[in-house]
Structures are given as C-alpha cells and as structure tokens.
C-alpha cells in the first residue's frame, strides 16, 4: 500500500514536469534543424543560430525589447523603492491604505490597464511613441517592485534609522547609507522581476507602442498572423530560455552562498 502510494507520487511528479517542460524541449530540439515547418526534421544543423544574427529585423526587435525592459525596470525600481520606503514610514492608517492601493494593479487584469492607458493617452492627444510604451511598462512592473521591497523593510530593525539619526546623520544620509543597503536584495529582485515581466509582455506593449516599434512579443504575434513562423525564432527562444536558466542559477548560487556565510 505504502509502496503503491510512493510510486504514484513519483509518476505524478514526473508527469507534471514533462507537461511543463516538453514544449520547451521540443522547441529546443527543433532549433537544431533548418526545416521551415515545425515538426519536420531534415538533419541536424546549427544553421539557424548564425541566421538569427543575420536577420537584421529580428536583431532590432531583440534590441528594442531589451531596451524597453531595462529602461522600464530602471524607472520602476527607482520609483518603487521610493514608494515602498514612503509607505513603510507612513502613519498606521495611511500605510494600510497605501499598501492596498499600490497592490491593486497586481490583481487587475492586464487588458484593463492597457485599455485605460490607451484611453488616457488618446484623451490627452498624446502620440503613441517610446515614452508611452515606457509608461505602460512602468505601470505594469511598479507594483511588483514595491511588493518585493516591502518584506525587506519589514525585516529591518525598526530602530536602525533612528540610530543613524542619533549618531548625527541627516535623514538623506541615513537613507543612503543605512536603509538602502539593508533593502538592496529586495531592490535587486524587484529589478529582475521588472525585466522579466517587461520582456514577455504583449498586451500593454500592443496597446501603447508606436506601430513602427516592435518588441519580441509583438513581432512573434505579427509573424504568426501572417502565416508560418520564421524558423530563426526557434533558435531565438532557445537562446532566451538558456539565458533565463543561467540567470536563475546564478541568483540561486548567490543567495545560497549568502546563507552559508550568514551561518
């Protein structure tokens, strides 16, 4: 009986893992063949990878995506850090209200945010351009930055800010030298979270961009609408997946080392 349960548990876990990773694995496997249609294998080849970097349009799209991701993450991180600190030091009632309000966008359907932004820009007669796209992505990622910094502020010894003032630091100095270093891990993970959210965002991008400006998601969507997917995309998604995997491993090793050191 016990053994049967254990075997069932194993099977369950593996089924789940296969279901989760099979699509990516299939895609990765087919990135090593040059066939135009997916599912056809006409010999092993690295050919798609060099082609990836020769496709000028694709390279621009990738660079656009990275630019939007980094710029919006930077803006969100700065605003989110200031916001989180502001909320943390608000009076009790104000604090509860602000915390609630700042987290509504997390729950809100993205399509609602996208539509409201579009309506807002149109109402004020603003042309869609890079700035509107940036604003859209900042709106998308900002609450997540606040959400990842908040626990760090709560873990912080409530007296250390006062201790800094007591030792002669002006509030701005105490903020830079004492509070920011304490919440740095939260700021860092907030930044990374923003980058990943922005990288694969489609809805807000589609609504707030200037149509001549494409990011990966809008490019892929456009390509599928036209018909067959360009085969180079298979190589590209593999690269993105491997990049994300490496990033994840690096972050995990870092935090593991920190924990060891703390012991």
């Amino acid at each position: 009986m016990k053994k049967a349960t254990r075997i069932f548990a194993r099977i369950f876990v593996w089924t789940m893992l296969v279901l989760m990773y099979a699509p990516i694995l299939v895609l990765m496997v087919f990135s090593f063949t040059e066939a135009d249609t997916i599912g056809v294998w006409n010999g092993f080849s690295f050919g798609l990878y060099p082609q990836l970097f020769q496709d000028e349009e694709l390279v621009t799209v990738v660079l656009n995506t990275i630019l939007v991701a980094l710029a919006s993450a930077a803006v969100s991180t700065v605003l989110g850090t200031m916001g989180a600190i502001g909320i943390h030091y608000s009076r009790r009632r104000m604090k509860a209200a602000l915390e609630g309000v700042s987290q509504i966008p997390v729950m809100n359907a993205e399509i609602v945010t996208a539509l409201s932004l579009t309506v807002l820009f149109v109402y004020f007669g603003i042309q869609f351009n890079f700035i509107t796209l940036l604003i859209g992505h900042v709106v998308l990622t900002l609450p997540f930055v606040v959400l990842s910094i908040n626990p760090k502020l709560q873990q912080m010894d409530p007296n250390i800010y006062e201790a800094a003032l007591d030792l002669g630091a002006r509030p701005s100095h105490a903020l830079r030298r004492i509070i920011l270093p304490q919440i740095m891990p939260g700021i860092f993970s907030g930044f990374l979270l923003s980058v990943t959210l922005s990288l694969d965002d489609y809805i807000i991008t589609a609504f707030t961009r200037d149509t001549s400006f494409s990011t990966l998601s809008t490019y892929v969507y456009g390509a599928t609408a036209k018909g067959a997917l360009p085969p180079t995309l298979r190589a590209l998604t593999t690269v993105i997946f491997v990049f994300a995997l490496v990033l994840l491993i690096v972050i995990n090793i870092r935090s593991h080392r920190k924990k060891e050191a703390a012991r």
Binding site: D157, A163, L167, G168
Partner: protein, 505 residues
C-alpha cells in the same frame, strides 16, 4: 535650588498620542555626571521620555532644556546626545569598525585659523582617518572588544553586540548617554556583569547616563537617582536609599523591593494601628487619618514566644540561600518575614517591628469619588459611561419614590432628578469585579494590583480613563479585561447644586 550643574531639565513635559496621555506633566532635572534611572512597569512613559530627550519624539507640551537652552524641537542629529537601543540597532551591513566610526565620520570639529585679512575665524573640518581610527580603537578598548574591528556584526554574540552598541554611542563623546533597557535581552549572569561594567564606564567617562529599566534591582544597584514612574506620572524621585526606605506611596513600596503593605490608622502621638496592634512609629500624621503602612520583610524580627508585639502562626518557609522567607498569619493578615533564623512552621511565634522601620504613607484616595456623575431618566446614576442602579431617595432625606419615579419629600414636594449632576462615592470594598466584559455595567482593564496584607487593591481603568479602585480577596491578572458591578445601596450620592432646581411643578 542649586541649578548650576544641571545638564538637562524637563519643564512641564507632556506627550499625548491619539488622546492617550503617555507622559503627563514631567518636571525634573538631571545634574551633570549623574547616573539617573527611569524605573517603572511597561507603559509608564519611561521610554517615551527617553525618546523625547533623544529627539525621536517631540513633546506635546512643555520644554526640554539642555544646558539651559530649549532643544524640544531640535532633530536628533543636532543633539549632543547618543542612545544605546534595547535591541542594539547595529547596522548589519557594516563591520564593527564602520559601525563604531559611523558617528565620527559625520562629526565636524571647530578649529581656529586666520583668513586672508589676518583675522582669526572658526572653521569646521571633518576628523581625519587617523583620528577616527584612534577613537574607534579607544572605544573598543573601553568595551573590551579590541581586535574585533573587522568582524561582521552578525557573527557576534548578543553580549558582544551590546558592547559594540555602547562603543558606537560613547565614541561620539555625547554630553548625555541614553540607555533604553540595554540589558533586557541578555541572560541573568551576563546582565549582572554588564551592570557593573556600565557603572564602571560611567565613573571613568564622567558623562551623564540616563538609564531606562523596569528592573528595580538594576535601578537600585546602578543609579545615583531613580525616577519612579507609573501611568505617565512621576511617583517619586530620589536616591536608591530614599526610594527603598521612604517610598512615597503604596505603588512605589510595592514596586521597589519586597514589602508588607497594610492599611492602618494613625492614632496620633507617634502611634499607628495596623495588624490589630498599636505600634510606636516615627512619622507624623493627623490623628485618626487612614494611612498605608509598609514594613520590609527583613525588618520584621522574631521575639521570644509570647513576648513580641504581635503573635501569629508561621505557615510557610522557603530557603532563599542567604535567608529563609516565612509567611506568618496574624488573624487574616499575611506578614512576610526574611530571617536567617531557622524556625519550625505551623507553630505560634512572636515578632517585633522597630519604630523607625515602620514607614507610614499618605493614602492617595480613601474611596472612589466621581464628581461628574449624573442621574438618567430611569433614576440610575451614570458613572464612567455606565448606568448603575442607585437609591436616589438619599438626595432628599426621608423621601420615597412614587410610582412614576419622582422623589417625594416628607413635605410632599416632588422632585424630578433627571439629568441632575451628582457626586457619587463608592467605597473600595463595595465594588464587585466580574471576569467577563458583559457581566458588569462598565468594563475596563486591570492596570495594577497591590497586595495589602489580607486583600488585593486592584485598579481598573475604563477606555475613557475613568478609574475604579477595588478591594478584593481574589487575585486577578494585570491587563485582564473585566467589568464592575456596584450594589445600588452602596452608591452614596450627593447633589451638586440646590435641590430646589429639581422641584417638579
């Protein structure tokens, strides 16, 4: 009074948070170089007072004078005062050296120089690296942690972190060092060691220490002056000896050290009656005044059987190392005795108390008096927001109530006492405590409890800050939420103003 050496003075300082008074009209001063302790149970206002001196809070009313200058509104970073926090509040991302050097790196010191015109001017400069390093090393030496400069804060034990916190504060050479229960997180042995070390540091550094604690023993051991606080009010200021030997009221006597507290009557002519005996004493009060009497357990001495001042039976004996602690029953009263003599229990004994060891205190209150009470529609009296049944006929002697609820005087006049302002008076022993909030008329929280020989005196405070003092045989717990009942016939009422106002036409 000689105020030449006063370093800090609080003048009428109050602090109110959302209508709760945390600190109520504090007036006291601290002399240069003194070791002062703020002592009291939690919520007494001691930490709030310290935080106002540090500058983290600003007084709602009153002034804080440092060397005669008002600093009430000065931010903490402009005060020559440093704090050692209860949970150390070290900067975990900095090492020991940078923690201690934090204040020094921000410090600017004046120096004299001559400008182009050859005039002498005072300019300010930062400390050099070498100066900082020297001071940090010295400070670490004072706290016995030299060689620890490059250690990570997180690798230090609690006691070591505490020392670093002290070093970080004293390295700035503050005029006053504030310590907020700094030993609270340490174990007993460590605490005792640190007490002595802090005292030694105080002697060596010569700066003023203000020390917050709820531990009476700590305060007695370390301080030059103790400020005893309760409920945001100063109870007594004095030397440890004064406070121990001459407590001003029952609270101080009960809070500081162990004590036998009794209610007694001053008979006049240096005689006081308590424990059913008339004792000689040295204090002077008005004849027949009700008083509180305190006798320390070590001041009760055994006499030859049958030849002492009072007789009783020993019911308990506990060995405490240096002495035995006995409980003696005298009638229904308990007497705690500390003695090195070993006695058999359950036997009658006689004891003596020397006149100068009987300390007599004025009773704060003789009964609960509510001067803002009034009568409602149904002839009930409103006390502390609750409607208590009462006998309104006592407002007019010889009167009775008619069927409609009017008070009919013997001469036939009818009175309607609706909304009449009255003075309600209830004896401590006439109030009954109910241990749930719905069982009584008014609910509140037990703020304090003092044992008075054969009963407890409990202080119950309502949300609106009205107090009920209750004498009860039963033990309750501080902070319990309870409610109170008063039998109708036990509420004594007195009309405020003329009865004629209430005559019904």
């Amino acid at each position: 009074m000689d105020k030449e050496n006063v370093i800090i003075e609080l003048v009428g300082v109050s602090k109110v948070y959302n209508e709760t008074v945390a600190v109520d009209n504090f007036n006291f001063y601290v002399k240069k170089g003194e070791f002062v302790s703020f002592l009291g149970p939690s919520g007494c206002g001691k930490t709030t007072t310290l935080r106002m001196i540090a500058g983290f809070e600003h007084p709602t009313e009153g002034k804080i004078l440092l060397n005669g200058k008002d600093i009430s509104e000065l931010p903490p970073y402009e005060r020559p005062v440093n704090t050692v926090f209860q949970k150390y509040a070290l900067f975990p991302h900095l090492d020991v050296y940078d923690n201690v050097a934090f204040g020094l790196k921000l410090k600017k010191i004046p120096y004299e120089t001559t400008d182009k015109q050859g005039n002498k001017v005072t300019k300010y400069r930062k400390l050099t690296k070498a100066e900082i390093s020297k001071k940090v090393t010295e400070a670490l030496k004072i706290v016995d942690l030299e060689e620890f400069e490059w250690r990570d804060i997180t690798t230090l034990s609690g006691g070591q972190q505490q020392r670093i916190a002290i070093a970080r504060a004293i390295v700035n050479e503050p005029q006053i060092l504030l310590l907020d229960e700094p030993l609270g997180a340490l174990d007993l042995k460590m605490r005792k060691e640190m007490q002595l070390e802090l005292k030694e540091m105080h002697r060596k550094l010569g700066i003023t220490f203000i020390y917050v604690t709820h531990d009476q023993e700590e305060a007695l051991t370390m301080s030059d002056t103790i400020v005893v606080m309760k409920d945001g009010q100063i109870q007594q200021i004095g030397t440890p000896e004064d406070i121990y030997n001459e407590p001003k009221n029952a609270f101080v006597a009960d809070f500081i050290g162990e004590s036998n507290l009794y209610e007694g009557v001053y008979m006049g002519n240096r005689k006081v009656r308590f424990l059913n005996h008339i004792f000689d004493c040295v204090d002077d009060f008005a004849a027949n005044e009700k008083v509180n009497v305190v006798v320390r357990p070590e001041d009760v001495t055994f006499a030859e059987a049958g030849k002492g001042m009072i007789d009783g039976i020993l019911t308990e004996k506990v060995f405490k190392g240096i002495h035995y602690e006995y409980t003696m029953m005298v009638g229904r009263n308990e007497v705690t005795i500390q003695s090195t003599e070993s006695k058999e229990i359950n036997l009658p004994v006689s004891v003596n108390i020397a006149p100068d060891l009987i300390h007599i205190m004025k009773k704060d209150m003789l009964s609960n008096v509510y001067d803002d009470a009034y009568i409602d529609n149904d002839n009930r009296v409103i006390i502390a927001g609750g409607a208590f049944d009462c006998d309104v006929t006592q407002l007019i002697p010889g009167s009775h109530l008619d069927e409609e609820g009017y008070v009919v005087a013997p001469d036939g006049k009818m009175y309607d006492f609706k909304d009449a302002d009255v003075l309600a008076d209830v004896a401590f022993s006439d109030i009954e405590i109910v241990d749930n909030e719905d069982g009584g008329v008014v609910c509140g929280r037990i703020v304090s409890m003092i044992y008075l020989g054969n009963h407890y005196q409990v202080l119950i405070r309502t949300e609106d800050d009205e107090d009920f003092v209750v004498d009860t045989e039963y033990t309750w717990n501080e902070d319990d939420r309870v409610s109170v009942l008063i039998p109708a016939e036990k509420i004594r009422l007195k009309l405020r103003g003329e009865a004629s106002k209430y005559v019904k036409n």
